[in-house]
């Protein structure tokens, strides 16, 4: 069974984002970019499936600018076998990403697609579910644990009240939550090996998908700021203050 893993190049999770003065977006100039942390968990899960003999091949896909090939290389260094870069400088919305991935799924025929539950830039949490709907496949979102069996997958999911298990038929879509696994660091020999693994270059037009944004971003602004209040000296004073402002 082939596993497809879409990976997104995003601002590194340690970087403090700054809104541009003209409110046109977030400043990405000279900012460190990395693989979306949830996607690292997806790559790890796919590579583990291969190591356990449950997956035959792991294909990493990224949709983005030329530099997104570096994100694919990271996935290859973690253990993916080959990459597909769908090159575009446009900001591609989840629906368009799902349409491109659908076309890739039709060509590659994977048994599973494992995606991060959301990207830490737009925080949409949509792509996996949209891809599942477009393909008519079932989904196991916010996965905490994944067990594969013949023609099906048991997915333990993180839900508001605790954990829920669903059984879904494969082929299927999985989206990863934080506690599914702990992604490995790529070793130096594997980073060297990854340089020789193939990356196919495509464009959205190759898949017949129009990536023009459908949502119009009118502005991007700073959230309202909270300021520090006062320091209290004792627990008794803290309780008094909370009572004084009517919080308890």
């Amino acid at each position: 069974m082939k596993v497809l893993v879409p990976v997104k190049r995003v601002i590194d999770y340690n970087v403090k984002v700054r809104v541009k003065a003209d409110q046109s977006g977030v400043d990405l100039a000279n900012v460190k970019m990395s693989m979306n942390p949830f996607d690292e968990i997806s790559v790890e899960e796919a590579v583990r499936l291969k190591e356990k003999g449950k997956a035959s091949e792991v294909v990493a896909v990224s949709i983005g600018p030329q530099q997104a090939s570096e994100t694919i290389r990271t996935a290859l260094a973690m253990g993916a076998d080959r990459g597909i870069l769908v090159k575009t400088d446009a900001e591609v919305e989840p629906l368009a990403v799902a349409k491109i991935l659908k076309a890739i799924c039709e060509a590659e025929q994977p048994g599973l697609v494992i995606l991060g539950k959301q990207a830490i830039d737009d925080d949409s949490n949509q792509t996996g579910q949209m891809l599942a709907a477009l393909l008519g496949w079932p989904q196991g979102t916010f996965a905490h644990k994944l067990e594969l069996a013949d023609g099906k997958a048991d997915v333990e999911r993180e839900i508001d009240g605790g954990l829920q298990t669903v059984e879904i038929k494969t082929p299927a879509i999985i989206t990863t939550d934080l506690r599914l696994n702990e992604p490995r660091y790529a070793s130096l020999p594997n980073i060297m090996k990854a340089k020789k693994k193939p990356i196919d270059e495509k464009t959205p037009a190759d898949y017949g998908v129009d990536v023009t944004p459908r949502l119009k971003t009118l502005k991007v602004s700073e959230p309202p700021k909270r300021t520090a209040g006062i320091k209290v000296k004792t627990t008794a004073e803290l309780v008094d203050k909370l009572k004084e402002v009517g919080a308890i």
Partner: protein, 313 residues
């Protein structure tokens, strides 16, 4: 045309998240219809019919919807979509699960976790873990929206809507619910509690969370945790407050042994009053706390419990 709100419930009780989503819907398109999809959930429909501003409750009572599994939910919502121009769900793990499927099938972008309705087609939503707010305009056509419920006031229970049964739309038969492990608690739910007390890595162990439990019991508060505390295995995942966990905005948030990573702040910074107890006076949590106490939590928490007892809590 109408807006359709998908109700959040557990087949017995209607969740507060629904009332808040109704408020958002009323600002986008009226009349507001509420879909209650579940199994043996007539009492939920009854409760939804009392929400102010709701004209009609659609009740789809079928075993396929008992756990709101995404694939049958998609089919059901799509069967009702022709009669409405906006479809809204609270941004709960259920809403986040089925709504993008609906949007994809309608070939429209989903607008996730709106914070504010600026106009009927224009919304504010958080990006970069709430470190920036985007104002986005939806294209013409149907709108599919999830709502960050902490940002909206609940519709008051003042209505008397009619309840209409709708037929089930069938189960594609590719997925099924197997089981669940839900945290049992007598305390209020994190997302609707008036007071939340959360512990972080500083709690050092799961057993030590009982120090928070004692205070929570006195204040009728919910107990939460930072991602660090969940990742360390102190408490289950459903305790997590933060960008990737639950977003809360109670009247009072008490952060104990939490340093205040951006990830965590994104989940609680809209609380009305924030109190923080941390032994590190440089902890970032103090930069947003209304009241900060630099102290060892193992000393401060028993003291706080005693103070509250003294005051009759």
């Amino acid at each position: 045309m109408a807006s359709l709100v998908i109700a959040e419930h557990d087949n017995k009780n209607l969740k507060d998240a629904t009332a808040k989503t109704v408020s958002a819907a009323a600002q986008i398109s009226t009349p507001v219809h509420v879909l209650v999809a579940g199994s043996g959930c007539a009492s939920v429909a009854e409760a939804a019919s009392k929400l102010g501003g709701v004209e009609k409750v659609l009740l789809a009572d079928d075993p396929a919807y008992a756990k709101m599994v995404a694939e049958p939910m998609e089919k059901l919502i799509l069967s009702l979509a022709p009669n409405c121009d906006a479809i809204l769900a609270p941004a709960t793990t259920n809403g986040k699960n089925y709504m993008p499927r609906v949007a994809a099938k309608l070939d429209v972008p989903q607008i996730s976790e709106i914070l504010k309705v600026v106009g009927p087609d224009t919304f504010e939503r958080p990006i970069y873990a709430g470190n920036a707010i985007a104002t986005v305009q939806a294209p013409a056509g149907k709108k599919v929206i999830t709502v960050r419920t902490t940002a909206f006031k609940a519709a008051e229970a003042a209505g008397s809507a009619s309840i209409e049964k709708v037929s089930a739309a069938g189960d594609p038969g590719i997925s099924k619910f197997v089981g669940e492990e839900l945290s049992k608690s007598e305390r209020p739910e994190l997302t609707s509690a008036k007071i939340v007390i959360s512990g972080g890595r500083g709690m050092q162990s799961g057993e030590n969370f009982h120090l928070l439990d004692k205070i929570a019991d006195k204040l009728h508060a919910a107990v939460g945790a930072s991602r660090a505390a969940v990742d360390a295995g102190f408490v289950p995942n459903d305790y997590q407050v933060g960008q990737t966990g639950k977003v809360v905005a109670p009247e009072l948030y008490i952060a104990v042994g939490i340093s205040g990573a951006i990830q965590h702040l994104a989940g609680m910074k809209d609380s009305k009053v924030i109190a923080a107890i941390n032994k590190d006076e440089e902890a970032p949590i103090f930069q947003i706390a209304d009241f900060g106490l630099v102290a060892d939590l193992f000393k401060a928490l028993p003291e706080m419990e005693a103070e509250l007892t003294k005051l009759g809590y």
